[in-house]
Symmetry: C2
Subunit: 398 residues, 2 copies
């Protein structure tokens, strides 16, 4: 008797109010059909229908543009979004000598995307002021009320300590180490500020709108002038205890190798970023080359440029193989500007990954294989993810 | 107006029935005071009190032994457990030439712990039959009804594919590759079977009763005749898409190094397990040495044995440094029989970890530092974790 009662009690799942769950789903996912909402929230279709009717009556939810239905027949499903009037959010990327601002509303529509050059050694205070100016100007240009701004997400080029919110020593802008972005940006912008590392933001963008939609567990691996990334586990971007989770560029490949900017030796970034290959390319062509230049030449068939990309991919694949061995993710999204090289990067990268990782493709059936794919975002992933920070968290902060 | 309503809706949290949450907490944690239950479930003390009163009336919850209160005054807090009569569970470890069976009840009391030798090349069917015999005998010896057995957890020496439940090629018992333990053990034991890798089970044991109580995110790193481990994220032991998550022993240290049993070259296990050092020791002392022998001699001051332990620790620390860099866990629990060497292992291990990991102790304040600690379980961690599998999951399977 006890056993039966015990079992039924243990089988209970956590439930939330239907309205809260529907609104949360729409804020996180953007436009959804009633069927999708039922699937995501786990609510009954009738409950979703009733809840949506109430939410539409009160104006919180509105009808969005129709979903494409491909080759299927019948009238297209009605999709719903949060009312764009209900609020806007801003994503900011503070990069090397550059600030980018993206404005979006809670229906996930992008309203503006602006970039401004900054001094190479700008201070956090200057960045906050410049951000305020850019936001004000954008809202004025689009005749939007600033009072609708729910929060500002900030993506920064370095690990952010999740305990005290301060930037770490290993940042790309070392003079910002120890800075708490929230206390600098908060008083200037007068809004809740959400800060995370740029790669963590990029992972959020791929999860919300990009190559990792529907994945609760995946890895983002960025190959650019540095190597970075993020780990998503159970739908949550891991920060680690001090904010360094996902710092794949600093795995030790050779403990006796050259010194890295982080203070260790032989970090993966020294072999698998495109920094050194770009120096080779510039020397070979006797002019300053960009990553785009090398990729274009490689696609045109230049064997030297192809080899530089291939060697970078092979080195990256070794690090990625270790990530595959210990995290064994279902999906690895390759980001960073090197991803623009397409198959020239992906083919040797996949081969090197397969060589070094523990579980080989032939060991398991399709669904248990780790898939490698190019990210949807390359240029603006981090800034879009900063927007995502607000869409996912604003209600929890308020 | 919309904004305010939207915020309040977004702030809603998921809730479950109070009874379900209290029972779940007791099943997962064992003995708890009402205050602890309120803390864990997030329920109001009055709700907990009312719910406990109902659960006690129906006999599902009973009073347990008093909690130690240390130096505090006043009468000790009443602790509660699930009624031991409500059910029992069994954990099984299938190792190399050995099966271990631990029987516990839902109050988390251990009733029996038995080990049986098996042929080195025993089949899964033999293991299932032997397990059945051991369970039957133990229940008879303790006059317990077999009908109270809620489920059987099985810890196996290799990755388990979470999709199809089959053991992977990289298992310690290679002839078991492709076997689905549930379909072999299920018909024999006639109970729900829960299977996981032995290191994943060990992590569960450390989380439920050992060095990682209260940690939602930590890493278990085992140094024994092999190197293994587990990653716990958000209170969940990661399996990975094919079951290999946490296989730290197969990170590539040297892609041109010696061949590993997994088919790759230069895996961490070849440098950081105690297999090769033990061969050295046996040669040096001209007799077959065990890990215990070496540890005892090292503690007595034998410099050769000390060096063998130190070199193993240094190699392990390099791999652990990478784990620190990319996962940045708050806690790393060192398990495996090498942990019995205590400071002789931990001192060089911590130094090597600190040298190779990205975030140094001096970079961050105390709470953001990664702590290394010796596990509470060494010998029976995996089998205890197999018991834990049942305590945490039986209701969800039923």
């Amino acid at each position: 008797m006890h056993r039966i009662e015990l079992k039924s009690l243990l089988a209970d799942r956590a439930v939330g109010t239907p309205s809260g769950r529907v609104v949360r789903a729409l804020s996180e996912r953007g436009a959804l059909s009633a069927t999708q909402i039922a699937h995501i929230t786990g609510l009954a279709k009738s409950t979703v229908s009733m809840t949506l009717s109430e939410l539409r009556k009160s104006g919180i939810v509105v009808e969005g543009p129709s979903l494409e239905r491909g080759a299927s027949v019948g009238r297209p499903a009605t999709v719903l979004t949060l009312n764009p009037q209900a609020g806007t959010c801003v994503g900011v990327l503070i990069g090397l000598g550059q600030a980018r601002v993206i404005v979006a509303d809670v229906s996930h529509a992008i309203i503006a995307d602006t970039v401004t050059e900054l001094d190479p050694d700008f201070s956090p205070e200057q960045a906050a002021e410049e951000t305020r100016r850019m936001i004000k100007q954008t809202y004025a240009e689009h005749s939007m009320p600033l009072c609708g701004l729910l929060g500002v997400g900030v993506a920064v080029a370095g690990p952010v300590n999740p305990i005290d919110g301060r930037m770490q020593r290993a940042s790309v802008v070392p003079t910002w180490a120890g800075i708490d972005i929230r206390t600098v940006f908060g008083p200037v912008l007068q809004r809740p500020i959400l800060v995370d590392n740029e790669s963590n933001c990029a992972a959020l963008a791929e999860m919300m709108w990009g190559a990792a939609i529907g994945y609760e567990d995946f890895v983002l691996f960025k190959i650019d002038m540095g190597v970075g990334g993020a780990i998503v586990s159970g739908g949550r971007v891991l920060t680690g205890i001090a904010g360094s989770a996902g710092e794949f560029g600093h795995m030790t490949v050779d403990p006796d190798g050259p010194l890295c900017r982080c203070g260790n030796r032989g970090c993966l970034e020294l072999y698998a970023s495109f920094k050194t290959p770009l120096q080779h390319a510039s020397k070979r062509f006797d002019r300053p080359m960009t990553m785009d230049d090398v990729i274009v030449l490689a696609k045109e068939g230049d064997v030297g440029c192809r080899r530089l990309i291939e060697d970078t991919a092979t080195a990256a694949g070794r690090g990625l193989g270790m990530i595959g061995t210990i995290l064994n993710p279902g999906l690895i999204v390759i980001g960073g500007r090197m991803a623009l090289a397409g198959d020239l990067l992906m083919t040797p990268l996949a081969a090197s990954f397969e060589k070094h990782t523990l579980v080989k493709r032939s060991d398991v059936s399709g669904p248990a294989r780790t898939e490698l794919t190019i990210g949807k975002f390359t240029e603006n992933d981090s800034c879009m993810g900063a927007v995502g920070l607000v869409l996912r968290h604003h209600g929890r902060l308020a």
